[in-house]
C-alpha cells in the first residue's frame, strides 16, 4: 500500500524539469509522545548544526495523549489527570505554541523539522504554509477546508479538522500539525480543544464516511502537498536511516 503511494509520488515528480532540494519524509508509525519529542529535538539539533542538511518531515501516530502547549490554561483541560489515566491517556506539557490538544490513533501527526533560514524567517508565514499544505492535501482527498482568521488550524465548514502548534530555535522548527483522519473524536470531550470554547472537531472519516482513505494514503498525500508548498521534493527516508543520520550527527 505504502509502496504504491511512493511509486506514484516519484512518477509525478519530473525531477529533470525542476531540481527541487529533497526533503526527507520519515513514516514512523505509532510512536509514544515522549519518544517522538526526543527524536524531534535530536533531528532539530542536527538540523541546526548542519549535520542534517535537508528539511525533515516526521509522520507518525501517537498513542492517546493530551498535551498542553505554552498558552494552556488549566480550565481548558476539563478532565482530571485521574480521568485521563482511566481512559489510558497520558498527559504532557509541551514547549509548542498553542493551548491544549489531543493526539491518538487515527490522527496523522506531522513534525516538520524545517530550517526557516532557507525559506523565510517568518513564523507567521510558516504557520500559514502548514495550513496551506493541509488544505491542499484535504482538497486532494475531496474535502474543502479553509483557514479561520485569527484561529490557526484548518477548518472545514466551521469544524476543526487539523491543529497546529510549532516551536523554533535558531529558525529551525519542531512540533507541527495533527490531522484527524479517523481519530476517535470523543477524546476531545476531555478538554476545550485549543482553548477555543465551542469548537467542534471533525475528521476525514467523519466528513467522508465509508469512502474515506486510510491513514497511510493520507500520509503520502500530505507529504506530497507539503513538498509542493515548501518547494521541496519529498523523498522517503526509512526510520533506520534516520537513526543512522542522528548517530553520525
Amino acid at each position: 500500500m505504502r509502496e504504491a503511494g511512493v511509486g506514484a509520488t516519484l512518477a509525478s515528480a519530473p525531477v529533470a524539469e525542476r531540481a527541487l532540494a529533497p526533503m526527507h519524509v520519515a513514516h514512523l508509525g505509532l510512536v509514544p509522545y515522549a519518544r517522538a519529542l526526543d527524536l524531534q529535538r535530536a533531528v532539530a539539533r542536527a538540523r541546526i548544526s548542519g549535520d542534517i542538511a535537508q528539511d525533515v518531515l516526521l509522520l507518525l501516530e501517537h498513542p492517546p495523549v493530551v498535551t498542553l502547549g505554552r498558552s494552556s490554561k488549566a480550565k481548558n483541560l476539563v478532565a482530571s489527570p485521574a480521568m485521563l489515566a482511566a481512559r489510558g491517556v497520558e498527559l504532557f506539557e509541551a514547549e509548542r505554541g498553542g493551548d491544549v490538544t489531543f493526539h491518538g490513533r487515527g490522527q496523522l501527526v506531522g513534525y516538520p523539522i524545517v530550517n526557516l533560514r532557507e525559506h523565510r524567517q517568518d513564523l507567521h508565514w510558516y504557520l500559514r504554509q502548514l495550513e496551506e499544505a493541509l488544505i491542499r492535501a484535504l482538497r486532494t482527498i475531496g474535502i474543502a477546508s479553509e483557514r479561520s482568521e485569527g484561529r490557526t488550524g484548518v477548518w472545514t465548514d466551521g469544524r476543526k479538522i487539523a491543529s497546529i502548534g510549532v516551536h523554533a530555535r535558531d529558525w529551525v522548527t519542531w512540533h507541527g500539525f495533527a490531522l484527524n483522519v479517523s481519530t476517535d473524536l470523543s477524546y476531545f470531550d476531555l478538554m476545550v480543544p485549543c482553548g477555543l470554547a465551542g469548537v467542534r472537531m471533525t475528521s476525514v472519516a467523519k466528513e467522508l464516511g465509508p469512502s474515506a482513505p486510510e491513514l497511510a494514503s493520507v500520509e503520502d498525500i500530505v507529504a506530497e502537498s507539503f513538498g509542493e508548498v515548501f518547494s521541496r521534493a519529498p523523498t522517503m527516508l526509512a526510520p533506520d536511516s534516520l537513526s543512522e543520520m542522528l548517530v553520525h550527527a
Partner: protein, 426 residues
C-alpha cells in the same frame, strides 16, 4: 562584556511578542547558545537564545508579559560587572520604545549595544562619552577592524578582551549580536554626528514600530507594485436626497456619506471578485467575502480596521461599526483580527478638504479607493449649466492583477450604485 537580550521579531510584521516562559533564573550561569526564554506569537513559540556568555543578571519581563520587538528583556554580564547603565536605559515596564536621545554624545554612549535606545531624557544630556579605551585609538586585530567596519561598529566604543585589552573578533561578534532584532543600530546612531547645533533647531523623532511598518510596507508597495490610477466623478445628488430624507425623519441611523460610499464600494467588490483579490506572487486569490479595510488616522500613523462582510451589512450597521472601529483604533484597542485580513481598503481624506488623491495599495491587496471631499460643483447637463453634488474617487490598481478595463468596469458598477443608492438598500 554585557549582552542585552531583547524581544525578537518572529515575523517581519510582528510588533510585539509574549514572553511565555523563562528557562533561566537570575543568577544562573549562561553559556552562549543557552535557551533563556520562550516567546510566543499566534501558535508558534520561538526560543530566545543567549548570544553571549556570563551570568543572567536581570530579567526585565515576567512570564505572560507582552513586549514590543526590540525591547530589553534581560541582561547577561559578568558576575560583578556594573550593569546599572544598561538597566537605567531599560524602558519602564509596558512603555513602548519611543524617545531616543538626540544629544551629540549619542554615538559614543552606547552605540556598541544600543539594543533599545529608549533613554530617559536626562537633564545632563552631555553625559561624557564613556569610551572604554579612554578615547584613544583602540588596539584591535586586523580581522576585528575589518569586521567592525563591515558591520558599522565603532571600535572606540568596544572593550577588548584580547591580550592587553586588544579588540578581537569575539568582541565584534558579541557587540554585533546585541544589535540584532531590528533595534536602532550603531550605524543609525552614528548619523547623529556631533555637529554644533542649537537645541530646538530640530527634533529627532525615532521611528515607532507602526512608522517602521508603514514605511516598509508602503515602500514595498510603491516599488515593485506597478500601480495605475483611475479617477472619476460620482454624482451624489441621490445620496444627498436620501440623507436629507433620513435626517428629516430624525436621523435615527446617523449614516454619513462615507458610510454610504463604503457600502457602495463593498457591494461593487462583491460583484467584481477580480478586484476583491490578493496578489500572492504566484497566484491571485479572489475573495468571495468582502472584508473592507477602512483607513483611520491615529496619533502616530494610520491603521485600517476591517468591516467584515461589509457587502452584506446594512448601511446603518456599517455606520455603527465604522464609528466604533475608528474610535477603538484611536484608542489603540483593536484586536489583531480586527485589522488584519482585509480583502480591499478604502481611504477618505474628504474631511480634510482634500478634493482628490491617490492612495497607496496595501499589499497583498490589489486595489485601494481614495475618496475626496464631496461638494457642489457646476456641471453641464444636457447643454445646460447646473449645480450638482459630486465626489471624486480614485481607484489605485495593481496592474499585475487588475487591468485598465477591468478597473474601469468596476468604476462603472460603482457609479451605478452610488448614483442609484436605492440599489444599496435592497
Amino acid at each position: 562584556m554585557a549582552t542585552k537580550v531583547t524581544m525578537e521579531a518572529l515575523s517581519p510584521t510582528m510588533e510585539e511578542g509574549r514572553l511565555v516562559k523563562w528557562l533561566k533564573a537570575e543568577g544562573d550561569a549562561i553559556a552562549k547558545g543557552d535557551v533563556l526564554a520562550e516567546v510566543e506569537t499566534d501558535k508558534a513559540v520561538m526560543e530566545l537564545v543567549a548570544r553571549g556568555a556570563g551570568v543572567l543578571r536581570a530579567r526585565l519581563a515576567a512570564e505572560g508579559d507582552t513586549r514590543p520587538v526590540g525591547e530589553l528583556l534581560a541582561v547577561i554580564a559578568e558576575k560583578d560587572e556594573n550593569i546599572d547603565a544598561i538597566l537605567k536605559k531599560a524602558p519602564a515596564p509596558a512603555v513602548p520604545a519611543s524617545s531616543a536621545p538626540s544629544a551629540p554624545s549619542a554615538p559614543s554612549a552606547s552605540s556598541a549595544s544600543s539594543a533599545s535606545s529608549t533613554v530617559v531624557p536626562q537633564p545632563t544630556a552631555s553625559t561624557p562619552p564613556s569610551h572604554p579605551n579612554g578615547g584613544g585609538r583602540a588596539r584591535s586585530s586586523p580581522l576585528a577592524r575589518r569586521l567592525a567596519s563591515s558591520r558599522g561598529l565603532d571600535l572606540g566604543t568596544l572593550q577588548g578582551t584580547g591580550p592587553g585589552g586588544r579588540i578581537i573578533r569575539l568582541d565584534i561578534d558579541a557587540a554585533a549580536s546585541t544589535e540584532l532584532s531590528g533595534a536602532p543600530t550603531a550605524a543609525a546612531a552614528r548619523t547623529a554626528a556631533p555637529v554644533m547645533r542649537a537645541a530646538g533647531d530640530s527634533e529627532d523623532i525615532p521611528l515607532t514600530q507602526i512608522r517602521k511598518t508603514i514605511a516598509r510596507r508602503l515602500a514595498e508597495s510603491n516599488g515593485p507594485i506597478p500601480t495605475f490610477f483611475l479617477t472619476a466623478d460620482f454624482d451624489l445628488t441621490s445620496v444627498r436626497e436620501l440623507r436629507a430624507q433620513m435626517i428629516a425623519m430624525g436621523d435615527e441611523f446617523k449614516v454619513s456619506y462615507n458610510d454610504i460610499l463604503i457600502k457602495a464600494i463593498a457591494t461593487a467588490l462583491s460583484q467584481h471578485p477580480e478586484v476583491n483579490a490578493h496578489w500572492l506572487g504566484d497566484s491571485i486569490r479572489r475573495h468571495h467575502r468582502v472584508h473592507l479595510g477602512m483607513a483611520v488616522a491615529v496619533d502616530d500613523g494610520l491603521i485600517t480596521p476591517i468591516i467584515a462582510d461589509a457587502d452584506t451589512k446594512r448601511i446603518s450597521e456599517i455606520a455603527r461599526e465604522s464609528r466604533e472601529l475608528a474610535k477603538r483604533a484611536r484608542e489603540r484597542k483593536l484586536a489583531p483580527e480586527e485589522y488584519t485580513g482585509a480583502t480591499c481598503t478604502v481611504s477618505n481624506l474628504g474631511m480634510f478638504g482634500i478634493d482628490e488623491f491617490t492612495a497607496i495599495i496595501n499589499p497583498p491587496e490589489v486595489a485601494i479607493f481614495a475618496g475626496g471631499a464631496g461638494g457642489d460643483v457646476p456641471v453641464v447637463l444636457d447643454g445646460t449649466l447646473a449645480v450638482r453634488t459630486r465626489v471624486r474617487i480614485t481607484m489605485s490598481c495593481d496592474h499585475r492583477a487588475v487591468d485598465g478595463a477591468m478597473g474601469a468596469r468596476f468604476m462603472q458598477t460603482l457609479r451605478r450604485l452610488i448614483e442609484n443608492p436605492l440599489m444599496l438598500v435592497f
